[in-house]
């Protein structure tokens, strides 16, 4: 997390005791009165307190925390759109923020006019933009629509143009708020590849997300904020582990029926726990030629009544997916208690496994849990389809199948861990 003192001046990002106070007034009149008289008529709300960190070139920091933890305030302070109340922020080099893409576009102006205007807002001169324009347009895949008013664009076209614009110049510090990728699968892939290229070239990244999965995938260090204070800061796994533990403890007394924040929650299409996906299954997948989960079969399920009983001692899941072009996709699988916590989540790219191509563009993995080491209870499974890198989530069937499992045992518990008696 820290660099030798001699290199402090060259650090892309350094925060020392940074705090941000929001002044809350009882009414706008009180705000005006305070402005005119200089009197303190406010209540203080400290959105951030005493945040200190240093990021070296090439480091990637993931910021996690619940709503109201201070993540967005931290990003805005680092971007420079907000001023810190206490402490100091040091930035060096070009800072690019991927916040609300396309929010500054004027609907009556053409894509090209917005491109040049947007460029001037982030420090790209007209001359520089003239040089960058062909590459930006090629990346955004806007085509001839670039000379049409932006109000005629689809939301996907707008964010594609905006992403291509803000990442036209390689930054020294890249700030990403939530949206790791935008647009359709094809463009998501391009976005992720561009971000990874920046990272490989030594760009420092600050990534704010509710997705522990993506933080683990992308970041080498993590910061957990809670009510504006630093709870933990350090290597990713211990910090994210502590954050997930805290989340589970918070969820338990209030919502015991919820499965909690599982390890593989993805931000692309979050659903309330227990709610089935909008349209999972072969029917939905067949309607499109995009990468998708085609089928998930669990062997040994018996009975008509839901949830069905897993009669087999082994849990064998056969997952069939359609990939994107020639790319070999990755497949993930998660088991949770139906009314409890997450139990395990696995993915091929995490374990060095690879799906097998069973037909052109169709891939399959068979996942076996021999002698399923669970106690009796009701469980729910989810399936995920990732790109080759494991960063882009192409498709997910979240909590799509509940099943019962019965195993005779005298002892209470959830899972039988591998063990031996000495």
């Amino acid at each position: 997390m820290s660099a030798p003192a001699t290199h402090l001046a060259a650090l892309p990002l350094r925060l020392a005791g940074v705090g941000k106070e929001y002044r809350v007034y009882d009414s706008p009149r009180a705000r005006l009165k305070a402005l005119l008289t200089g009197r303190a008529l406010h209540r203080s709300h400290w959105a951030l307190q005493d945040v200190s960190l240093e990021l070296a070139r090439g480091q990637c920091l993931g910021v996690v925390g619940h709503n109201g933890a201070g993540k967005s305030t931290l990003l805005k302070l680092i971007c420079g759109t907000l001023q810190p109340t206490t402490g100091q922020i040091g930035r060096s080099g070009r800072v690019t923020a991927i916040l609300e893409l396309g929010a500054g576009f004027h609907p009556d102006f053409t894509g090209r006019q917005n491109l040049y205007f947007g460029g001037s807002l982030i420090g790209i001169t007209h001359e520089q933009m003239a040089v960058l324009e062909p590459e930006v347009l090629a990346f955004a895949e806007i085509g001839e629509a670039i000379d049409r008013p932006v109000k005629t664009y689809s939301s996907g076209m707008t964010v594609r143009l905006a992403f291509a614009l803000v990442t036209a110049l390689e930054p020294d510090l890249l700030i990403i708020d939530e949206a790791l990728a935008v647009g359709d699968q094809h463009f998501q892939k391009k976005c992720i590849e561009r971000i990874q290229r920046f990272r490989d070239n030594g760009c420092t990244i600050l990534f704010c997300s509710h997705s522990p999965y993506h933080i683990r995938q992308l970041c080498d260090v993590a910061l957990w904020l809670d009510h504006g204070r630093v709870m933990e800061l350090g290597p990713t796994e211990p910090v994210i582990g502590a954050y997930e533990m805290h989340t589970r403890l918070l969820d338990q007394p209030e919502a015991p029926a919820e499965p909690g924040h599982a390890a593989m929650i993805v931000p692309t299409e979050e659903r309330p726990a227990g709610e089935p996906p909008a349209a999972p299954g072969p029917g939905a997948a067949a309607a499109s030629q995009e990468a998708a989960i085609l089928s998930v079969e669990i062997a040994g399920l018996e009975g008509e009544q839901e949830p069905r009983l897993l009669a087999s001692r082994d849990l064998v899941a056969t997952l069939t997916v359609r990939g994107r072009g020639a790319e070999r996709p990755n497949i993930g699988f998660m088991i949770e208690q139906s009314r409890g916590v997450g139990i395990t989540s696995l993915a091929t790219h995490e374990e060095g496994a690879a799906p097998t191509e069973v037909a052109p563009g169709v891939w399959r993995s068979v996942l076996t849990f021999p002698e399923l080491p669970l106690h009796s209870g009701q469980y729910v499974v989810s399936a995920y389809l990732f790109d080759a890198s494991g960063l882009a989530v192409y498709d997910q069937w979240y909590q799509f199948l509940h099943f019962r499992f019965v195993t005779p045992t005298l002892m209470p518990g959830l899972v039988k861990l591998p063990h031996h008696w000495g």
Partner: protein, 267 residues
Amino acid sequence: MFKALVTECRQLWRLRGLLAVLARRELGARTAGSAGGWLWVWLPPLLTIAAYYLLFDVVFGMRLGAGAPTARVGTYLVVGMLAWSAFADATQRGMGSLLDAGSLLHKNPLPPGLFPARAVLASGVVFAPLLLALLPLYMGAHQWRAGVWAVLPLLALQALLSFLLAYLLAILAAALRDVAQGVQVLLSLGVFLSPVLFPLTLFPERWRWLLWLNPMTAQVLGYQSALLQGAWPPLAVWLALLAWIGVLAALLSLALARSRDQLVDWL
């Protein structure tokens, strides 16, 4: 005392290229989608000038009494109304500029002063050429006297005055939205509390001091002196202008210092 304002002005100078882009875009946004384009920006003030001249000077041939800087009513009105329209346009657009730019300021680390400055610059692009166009039209009436060139420093001072006032009002409007409505009422009344419609000498002498509470009184008197008489405006005009600029600069600097950490939060 002026530290916050000086810092802001330095940033504006550093970002002058972006300021020009923003002003062009504001003017472009006003005419976006229209076939007439810039014609619609200049047509209303041009029609106002033409209407005053034709109606009061040509059709009715109305004349002002002794003590007025010119006898012809239309000629008199054009100078004051053009300056007042420029001031009112810049002030109103500048006052709303921070609220309008809220989403941009939340996402881009830009100095807030860019936006009132943009509004004043855009208004200047519309009205300054019209005021300058009066030079050759009016110079003939007073045998090309040198005082007419006072219009140039007067224009520069009006731009500065408008920026300071617009920025101050923009901060106040960010704190309390009602400020915008209040200022609109004051602008409607202000034209009557200035020598725009009537010469200063027509106001009762004991109430004449009220007119000097209007920041545009000195400005309008200056334009009338330069354009209608070809005379360099008297010292009192310049002193009053500088006093207004000084007071507004002090108030703006104070407002900037008090709102520095919170201004973007209010938008």
